[in-house]
Symmetry: C2
Amino acid sequence: MSNAAKRGGGHSGRRPGQSGTREAILAAARRQLAEHGYDRASLRGIAAEAGVDQRLIAHFFGSKQQLFVAATGLPLDPAEVLPRILSGDPADLTERIAALLAEGLDRPEAHDRLTAIVRAVATEPAVATMMREFFPRHVVTSVAPLLGPGDPRLRLNLFGTQIVGLVVARYIVAVEPLASMSPAAAADAVAPTLARYLIGPLTPNEKEPPR
Amino acid sequence: MSNAAKRGGGHSGRRPGQSGTREAILAAARRQLAEHGYDRASLRGIAAEAGVDQRLIAHFFGSKQQLFVAATGLPLDPAEVLPRILSGDPADLTERIAALLAEGLDRPEAHDRLTAIVRAVATEPAVATMMREFFPRHVVTSVAPLLGPGDPRLRLNLFGTQIVGLVVARYIVAVEPLASMSPAAAADAVAPTLARYLIGPLTPNEKEPPR
């Protein structure tokens, strides 16, 4: 995409450059989400602030959920990824989680985005509110039937604690050896925890095997 | 302790009020640790900045390590607590961790301090550096013989990820139900993870039981 197109300086006259429009929508979404939170931010309000037709948001991003994922910089949409890894054989869930996580830790743009989100969550109450509202609405509903017994929100809360803690320790504090070890080794160390939070027993006394 | 004593306005003339001296040492320690990091900050430099005799630091705090714990606001000294909980029967380690953690989550001044530390770590590189230097030096050496096989630093790194992630999720983002559940229930959910990081198998394929 050329800079001219980014600035919307193309010759078609139909609408500004795609990249410029997309960026304007993302910037408006970030402001509206920070001001109103996920629940009260509307696609109509975001379109108005960006000065575009609301249908363009659907064209570029699809749903409000997908716009949220793009605006916050989440490297993956958890509502898309978690059902996929949960739908295989539970006996191999740990390996599937480890493989996906190792891939994410190996991609600088993915872990940079996660690090930025964790920093923002820890310091900007509006971002924390946004995240707190987003996950129950859209992740829980799509994932709940595939999780182990008990409160699906708690399972996803706990899953989140381990991801956030890993990002803080590996990328923000950069403790050794965790900061320098291979993505695969770091992923292997936390994958059993993540698998337990999704489908395993949640308390020491809960002996039943994962479904 | 009265305000007069805090300001060091006592009548004895021998030295300022104990609380004033203690606070002056803590403030100097925080500045010196932030500027020089844990390794290079010296008790002599801290004493000089606080304007007190270096022996007073030993009197109030004991070692440099204990001064660090007090200055950063860690609610517990991990080099003291971890050996204690690790020295009992490994079969009950999860329960001992859960009990200790539940107690910490139940004390507002303990989780407020942890939350302040996690926020500072996520936003102030000097605090992150301080923590990164402190744990290998003083926690690892006292705890390593009691941990499971493999790199003891990695085990403590992983232990830290789960504590930090829990603090972010429960107190900073305040995700539900984790934020509102009882300290005991929250502690029970993460205690098996913490026990595994200390003594259990670290990778999915590592089948040997904890020692």
